[in-house]
Symmetry: D2
Subunit: 346 residues, 4 copies
């Protein structure tokens, strides 16, 4: 069975797991004060070119979004997000559980566009009743988006400028950041650190067993450790995340595994197009969204683990094929063979 | 440096880590639907003698308490707990963050006694204004308690009977359950499953890298997976907990590592008493609380990692010494030597 | 200055105020156990044809919505509402503050249509990831809507049937219910009680100083009084709402004042159309939404208090003119004179 | 039937009701922007000697406490309060519903003493684990307390100094403030305004139909109107509170009605002591707490409405007798006659 279902189906990148093994018997303080977390924070600060950054390690993606969004907002504020944004659609209301509204805005290619944002903000303040409404207190974007697409450096700069003008925070959900950085040389980690008030460097979907690094390039909110604890997100064995991120950011592993996955995704993309499959979104990252005739799906499902995305008209569906550090070139080759046989025999 | 600071200072028990390595390259579905979690749930159900139990794996202790307590309570209810209970004192208000009051009650040896509970419940319902007050909706106990003490089978039965009479849930925080089970043969895991509505089987402090198993012996609350997700506690790589608990509950490792730690703690206890140290609480589990002259602390701290617990009068302090799977008999011997030299030379 | 700004600009209907004066010196128990509240509940049950109904009196509209919606939902659920629904747009996130998402759906004429709702529900349950999403747990509608429009009996029946099929609650925000009942003889209060699980009978905007009656025709949720108290909405002097609703529902005052306001609104509507003003929505209730050239607004504002609603293209605006129990026929005549002079001289 | 059950059993002081009648037909803007609220704010600022004060009117006591406490605290903070404080004991967990813990501290005569507070704060910061605990973020006191007792000027100054030292807010729940001000000439309203960061001037229990004025002497928190709206506490007809507080603070009515009630309570106290009744607390305000043999209660209850407070040993109970603006000297005389007859004939 070929595995293209997602990018979190395997354990950890071998180098990450090796680090856990090597460090296993060395006792360390808890709650993020261990030497590995300390070192990982230093490595991330360096990679971000943000020596003042505060870095926290949390276990999961929905968790880090809820803690960061809930922690950055003031009580009367909500978070602007594309309607397709993960916090709006697929986190079971985790942000609302912290008492805050997600202010859903129209998206294009999964992205929140500057003109959409600026119009929403202008309309809000122009409304004479706005004191009776939820104040837009921050902007949430995901990069790559839920559709695999990317913000350009110009786009992110524009969003950042708008946020600065309105004195609101810009937060980037980087659950799959490794693939964004690998796909686009134009927008670097230091750029992101310079343009966002907070962002995550995803581990779970980028080679770790678990863990997301939450980075506040200009320093974090007051008493953030206590806030993390209050929201049930402070790991006793902080070393678990610390050692993993140390391995990911030493010697550039995070960037390397992103590159490898994206390169194979581009092979995949080329091969899919060559075989006549349309793409639902033109994604430059590790998730590809081919449109597939429904008739092919049962047979495909016998040898390939994929994700169903959504129906498209009567006879077709969008599926998601994802690569990761665990995908090998021969997996892509094998997938093509299967598709070729299916197209012939289907 | 000897390490007696706590029971979560090392990584994972080698067998647990080995399992993560062995399973690393096998792709699995996410969010707890992997084969390891499935198997771990089965093993835990067996160990509990509760074939109908629902079992969920969450990453950490404060998290699982907040999700379970918040999930078991109805909106107008609070959780009764000993004032020293972890949810009342040391979780940064995580239960209150879910909108519920912790109804703190007096403790004795860290335990909530049946007569204290029954008086509180009777007083509540006798108060003509009780509709203007927080309803007691469940009982939280920790076992072992924060002082290392244990509920006897008779005590737990009594609490359970009171809860049944008042139609409220009984929840046991078993963050250190391995040590309780090892210390007291009278109260078994099947007993706990029969007497409690929900309880945790702690992993983080009992040999895992992370993870707590939340067990509902008679079946869990409705839509509990969504509730876990909503509260940011659903791990994408559920396999991380699944594989670890599989290793812990195959071949009885969980019980074995508890026994080893408790046996060494009993050595420690004996040696401390023999050397004239009083014990703040007489703990039968892996945490020991000797009373130590303040004058000894600086020197002790040079060679032994311990936890400061609290001041006691002018010249003494209570400290905590904890054993775990990682503690070796020679560590205890070495500690005694240090103490002997200190007592002589201090 | 003519007052058409809203329907809550004056004090109370004289008969309501008189009742407060008459009852003022008679001592009564607090928290809704007074004789007036008791009697008002009886009168409302009768008017609803719902002898089993539970009725609670709360002070304000946003408050009663937040308490009812938050109280009806289970923790993992959200409330479906038209995007223009008051809880989604104009209550400062009060529902989200209780931890629940408002699931905004497209509206038509301010209404949530049955086909929109059924599609949303079907899509939700068809999504294989729906356990990671907010469950639709109830439907919120306002009647009249924020645009003054009304659900027909057939429409409400359809929504009610869908809710029954999906086992979710149907809640109607009747902040302006008096005007709905006056405008449409087809959908009566007993119909509403038969079709909804909960609804409000608005007082603040229908002749009272304050107060909304929250009606659960088939009986209210468990411990609802405590829930009201918990959310800061239980009035110590419950008599304040009780006496007012007694006056409103004795001798049919609630229906009469609705009729008077709607009759004048229809005069207004006729006169506006006759004078060539387009209507933004064709409202059969006490709120009328004429489209007015921006050039007229400053002069109009000198003699008439109106509400600005929204801009419409370059040169025009939608304004709201509202009638109430305090509006007199001569006020409408006077308004027409002002408009006639303006059209001539403007 | 004599009414001594509480101080909110009647409607409003006649002058307050008269004001509602006089202003009834004058249209006003909503949401607190009416002329009466404006004037009432001015009058309160003057009475407080706090020209910079922000003043908000909310409907009820639990509501204003939850909004103020929840609004003053930062997310990781809780409110210190005497264990008998209203927010801890009798508000159904309204503060916890906003996500914050009430940090209950021992009380004496219903008061939080400076040394108790300072010890709690010192202990908190001395605890090396305090980052894992709820930070004390404010102090809540009630004045008069739930036992009718009062803070002296010296005591309030001491609490205020401690709060300043620890950079936390001091909030006074003045639900019955009129009686405190009448009973103690030493601690004036300007003193309170100078020493507290926020306090309420209670209306509901001091002559109004409803309404509490929330005063921030040095200016209120940012966007507080929106926060009030978010928590369901913003009245559309702000005039209802505005007109009432205007009447209460014009010509010193608030102080006069307090004096009258306290003078009668002191008569009551004297007469109770003269008749040999012990007092549970020595209250200088409008609530008196005599200890009464249980055998007398049934007969007393036939002619006097009183509140049961608590049992005291085997044969006695504490009851509460409260005076208000509606209590007449002859009511007290009549009560004494009843007691005299009962004592004779009981």
């Amino acid at each position: 069975m070929l595995f293209f279902e997602n990018d979190y189906g395997h354990g950890a990148h071998p180098a990450v797991l090796r680090r856990l093994c090597e460090t296993n018997l060395t006792p360390q303080p808890g709650y993020g004060e261990d030497a590995y977390s300390e070192n990982a924070r230093r490595l991330i600060r360096e990679a971000c070119g943000a020596p003042e950054a505060d870095v926290f390690f949390l276990a999961g993606g929905t968790q880090v979004n809820a803690v960061a969004v809930g922690g950055l907002l003031r009580p009367w504020e909500g978070a602007c997000a594309a309607s397709t944004g993960h916090i709006n659609a697929h986190e079971a209301g985790a942000v609302e559980f912290t008492g805050h509204k997600v202010l859903a805005l129209p998206q294009r290619h999964g992205k929140l566009e500057a003109e959409t944002l600026v119009a929403a903000l202008a309309d809000f303040y122009a409304d004479p009743n706005h004191e009776h409404m939820v104040f837009p207190g921050m902007v949430y974007i995901s990069h790559p988006t839920e559709y695999g697409t990317l913000y350009t450096r110009a786009e992110l700069t524009e969003l950042s400028d708008i946020c600065k003008k309105y004195h609101i925070s810009l937060y980037m959900d980087g659950a799959r950041l490794a693939y964004a950085l690998a796909a686009d040389k134009d927008l670097t980690l230091p750029d992101i650190a310079a343009l966002c008030d907070a962002f995550t460097v995803g581990g779970t979907k980028c080679g770790a067993l678990c863990g997301e690094a939450l980075v506040f390039p200009k320093g974090g909110p007051e008493r953030f450790l206590t806030l993390i604890k209050q929201r049930g997100a402070l790991l006793a064995k902080g070393r678990l995340c610390g050692a993993q991120f140390e391995a990911l950011f030493e010697d550039g592993l995070y960037f390397e595994l992103g590159k490898s996955a994206v390169a194979l995704a581009m092979e995949l993309r080329k091969g899919l197009l060559a075989r006549g499959f349309a793409l639902f979104e033109d994604s430059p990252t590790n998730q590809q969204f081919p449109v597939v005739p429904n008739a092919l799906l049962p047979e495909l499902g016998k040898c390939v683990a994929y994700s169903f995305w959504e129906k498209r008209g009567e006879g077709e569906s969008v599926i998601r094929l994802a690569t990761s550090w665990a995908t090998r070139p021969e997996d892509v080759e094998e997938l093509f063979k299967i598709l070729d046989n299916m197209t012939v025999g289907g």
